[in-house]
Amino acid sequence: MPTLNLAGAGRLLVLVAVFLAGIWSQSSGVIDDFIFYLPDVHYLVVQHLWLTVMSGCLAIVVAIPLGILLSRPSMARVAESMMQVLNVGTTIPTLAVLALSMSFLGIGTVPAVFGLFVATLLPITRNTYTGLKGVNPALMEAAAGIGMSPTQRLLRVELPNALYVIFAGIRTALAINIGTVPLAFLIGAGGLGELIFTGIDLYDPVMMLSGAIPTALLAVVVDMLIAITAFLLVPRGVNPSRA
């Protein structure tokens, strides 16, 4: 009972705080300032999302087959060293990746998408590879012993059993991606970074927040979407969140 009362009191405090913040923002004209930026936000969110979707889809389409390829027994020799390279790659800050990409491809959308693609690629490839390698060898033996072809083994046994780990990789990768997109502004690709960085430069907190808050919301929404997809797609028997 006491904890319940505490929770209730907490909720009341939050309500009061929100109410006071509302009154303050109304009186100080902050809301009007935000509304001023709304058309910009709208345009930039689309641009921002487009960068994410382009680079994200490209990364998924490349990374999963790459992970699958590396996990094949015939690749065993090169796979481990490839994974070492990828692991080192993951430690490079994304800003550096974008800068490198710019030095090769110039400025604009193309180098931004490419840089984001590289940053997103690594975690997905790594998780696809480790997920597939981690499938219980007894399952693989049973699948082979039953007479499944290598492709059938991959599609019916390996991938479904590795799917949860692969999705975890996609989730991490897209979180990195969305977090990096604001930096794309720095190499001339637009996105919500425009408001954030300009806001910082002009010392205009409202402008900065109009960029930062949608960025944060986007990250949360995309993460939730992936979580829901994983929940629905990963078979119940191998889905810890549905156990």
Binding site: N136, A144, G237
Partner: protein, 393 residues
Amino acid sequence: MIRLDNLTKVFDTPKGAVTAADHISMEVPSGEICILLGPSGCGKTTTLKMINRIVRPTSGKVFINGEDTSSLDTQDLRRNIGYVIQQIGLFPNMTIEENITVVPKLLGWDKAKYRERAREMMRMIAMEPDAFLKRYPSELSGGQQQRIGVARALAADPPVMLMDEPFGAIDPINRAVIQDEFLKMQQELNKTIMFVSHDIDEAIKMGDRIAIFREGKLVQYSEPDDLLAAPKNDFVESFLGEDRALKRLNLVKVRDLASEEIGLVRPDDTLDAALERIEAYGYVNSIVMVNDKRQPVGIINAAVARTTQGHCRDHYQSVPVVVTLDDDLRKVASLMFANDMTWVPCVDDDGRIIGQITQRAITHHLGSRYRAHSKGEGGAKAAEASPSPAIKE
């Protein structure tokens, strides 16, 4: 028929070469169960896996129905061999139904047929189809999973089965039930089965033949009774255990040793007559009293008969123990010990007495095989004269 010809597997390990199977040659006739038996690490699993080419033989050949399997397509070969792996290996991403029907699906059965097949398999392994088919493997106990593993291997009705300790995780009571079900099924389906076990009792119960392995070598390959009667060397002897004579009792049914001769009394016989008959038949303690239909109704105690006058109908005690013709001698021996009897009456399906089985007949049976062996002409001749092992009925 499965024939192994000098099958050898050498594993290259960092610590040097390990010979897991060393020139194994043996033949399993069609429709028989061959048990591969031996201590851990002796190469049973390796030998089994070379048959469906999960393990590539270093040298030697495998023939199935006379055909060299190395000339067959590996996938085709495997789809026609049911395989139960030691680690169970159910697919956790599939429901029980999907697990069981995976091979029929690969073989292109239509949906109605394979779904019905799944239900049929569930009934065979004594699990309720409606309760389990939609579950996932992680929602089953180890023993239940193991049974599903067997069902999965059997689902497409393959003529050849390879089973690696298929009942290892099942408790003794359920294991006996599953073993019996399996043998019953085998009677109808006549599959050729290689079955790995390290349980000697299971081997004796299930096997038409038993292959004893030691450190990659096939030490002895015989029918169970021959194996127990005539172990080839000290290793086999110690592996079979000190009580191997008792184990042989499992293999013989009452039917094989019962004699029709039995002394009985009827309710209107006098106790004097009963006593006479007890002595005439050499029963030390008692004699069975039957009704008009020859069904046993009680026993007359020798001590009572000696000290009392009167008719049997007034002085009988408790219903006697009886055995049926299909009971094995192990049960008989245990009843004899428990009830301090040297003989047990046998009854038919209607409970009518049709004969008896005596302790002497049992000892004689065990002894005759040992004598045949020690005379030096080996087990082969004696095997012909001996009753066939119980499971071949």
